[in-house]
């Protein structure tokens, strides 16, 4: 199995497309989708955070409009949601960084560096499925004391593959927040006010996709107003 992976890896290396070409392939895979709506169920398991299972509805419209609705409270990861290859291609320099396998699927690994250095996430690695042209995983280089790894599982929705499950792992770099003592023990609310980084995981399950229903722009404008 190992040697097969190495051979396939070498083959891919010789006929490797550029990072930008790979991202374009991902865009092409999603080309038939202009908009979609999906139901989300999210579960979070993070330090110093207890949230019941959350339900929300995700609205996406090309090129990069995203809107969420929930009857109760919901929190959803900012990075990786409705991952937009066009946005990635326009805002990052993509470099081919080798091949890899996850769950017996062969993947291209890309290194993405932000064109604008003031961007929050300056660098990340992206794994793209060589057969489906879907983003299987991404991993950030540590930023603001944390790193983030997100893996996706896909299900076929008509002619395209859209996320079925997203699993995010939030790690932190540096001091373990819970080891902080002293004033934080006396005033635990202070720790929240100081904005200590949390580690943990979040899993989001997507279901009930409605694709190309002609979502109105006003749906996304309302969100802007709320901000």
């Amino acid at each position: 199995m190992y040697s097969l992976t190495v051979i396939l890896g070498l083959l891919l290396l010789f006929q490797q497309p550029s990072g930008e070409e790979i991202l374009r392939k991902v865009e092409e895979q999603l080309a038939p989708v202009n908009d979609y709506t999906a139901d989300l169920v999210a579960e979070v398991d993070m330090q110093r955070l207890r949230v019941p299972r959350m339900k929300a509805t995700l609205y996406f419209k090309k090129p990069d409009k995203v809107h969420f609705e929930a009857s109760g409270f919901a929190m959803l990861p900012r990075e990786g949601f409705a991952l937009n290859p066009t946005w990635l291609r326009q805002n990052f320099d993509a470099t081919f960084a080798g091949s890899d396998t996850i769950d017996a699927r062969i993947l291209y690994k890309l290194q993405l560096a932000a064109k604008d250095k003031s961007t929050r996430i300056r660098q990340l690695f992206l794994w793209v499925d060589t057969e489906r042209w879907t983003v299987a995983k991404f991993e950030t280089i540590p930023y603001e004391g944390r790193n983030l790894t997100v893996t996706f599982r896909y299900a076929q929705q008509g002619s395209v593959f859209l996320p079925d499950t997203m699993h995010a792992v939030f790690g932190f770099v540096g001091t373990e927040p819970d080891s902080l003592s002293g004033i934080y023990q006396a005033k635990p609310q202070l720790r929240e006010m100081m904005g200590q980084v949390r580690g943990g995981t979040m899993t989001v399950v997507y279901s009930n996709y409605r694709i190309n229903t002609g979502l109105s722009d006003t749906l996304f404008e309302k969100k802007e107003e709320k901000k």
Binding site: R48, L49, A56, F73, A74, R78, E79, R120, E192, Q196
Partner: protein, 278 residues
């Protein structure tokens, strides 16, 4: 006994001082809640700043439940003063008004008079805490609407809206319990002085001393801190944990209950044995 209690209630609720607490609550709660509404969710934003960098927050966490909880958190240390205004006056007030002997020469035992006064104290405490609860929750919900509730204590906890209302009901019922402890301490001080100011000041003095000893992170007090009634006064807060630590609540209720019972029995003994000269 019913008549005695009735007359005590009439005496209590016909005094202007009884309504000082209600008046202060009726001023401060709307003032704070309206100010919070206009100021917005700055506190919430600061407390969840780091999380919001990583997550989209969907839904309204800055709602009536959150604000009511903050009001409860802010007032629990001040409400005892308002309770002691009335409880400290129940026995000493008779001496101040010169009605002690007049009251005690009637063919009713001192024990029954004491029980009537104690009953009036309990009813006053219950009615005041209920008023505070209805006012703070009712107004906050009217001003800021409902929703899931965020509790920022040892971390962040989100409680589903469906489980919040009954938690508040239980929390306010539990909040009566430590106030009864305060009232009984005030009643105890009230039983051996002739001026109502003394019991109020003494009760607040005891509260401040115990509070300081409770919150100071000194190891010298670690072994005895659990016996301080002030450590258990926030037992109502535990209702907003998940899961609710009922054993801890029971323990706190027992400690507070011991203070209440000891204070009431002491007050009763002093009142029964006291030589009334005024």
């Amino acid at each position: 006994m019913g008549k005695l209690l009735y007359y005590e209630l009439i005496k209590t609720f016909f005094k202007k001082r009884t309504y000082i607490g209600f008046l202060i609550a009726a001023i401060i709660v709307p003032l704070v809640e309206v100010a919070i509404k206009f100021e917005g969710d700055r506190f919430l934003q600061v407390a969840t700043r780091r999380l919001q960098e990583d997550f989209f927050f969907i839904g309204n966490l800055f709602n009536g439940w959150f604000v009511s909880y903050q009001i409860m958190n802010a007032l629990w240390v001040h409400v005892p003063l308002l309770i002691s205004f009335v409880a400290g006056d129940l026995l000493a007030g008779e001496a101040t008004a010169g009605t002690y002997r007049l009251l005690l020469i009637r063919p009713v035992s001192r024990t029954r008079i004491f029980l009537a006064k104690l009953g009036a104290t309990v009813l006053y405490t219950f009615s005041f805490v209920s008023f505070l609860g209805v006012l703070s929750v009712g107004l906050a919900l009217a001003l800021l609407d409902s929703g899931d509730m965020i509790v920022i204590e040892n971390g962040i906890l989100i409680l589903e809206e469906s489980s919040v209302a009954w938690r508040f009901l239980v929390a306010f019922l539990l909040a009566v319990w430590p106030m009864l402890t305060i009232a009984s301490i005030a009643l105890l001080f009230s039983s051996f002085v002739d001026n109502a100011i003394g019991p109020i000041v003494a009760t607040m003095g005891v509260l401040i001393v115990f509070l300081v000893l409770t919150v100071l992170p000194l190891e010298a007090f670690d072994s005895i801190r659990d016996g301080f009634f002030t450590k258990h006064m926030v037992l109502w807060q535990k209702v907003f944990a998940d899961p609710i630590p009922w054993d801890d609540i029971q323990h706190s209720a027992i400690v507070l209950g011991i203070y209440t019972v000891v204070s009431c029995i002491s007050a009763w003994v002093i009142f029964v044995k006291r030589d009334i000269l005024s």
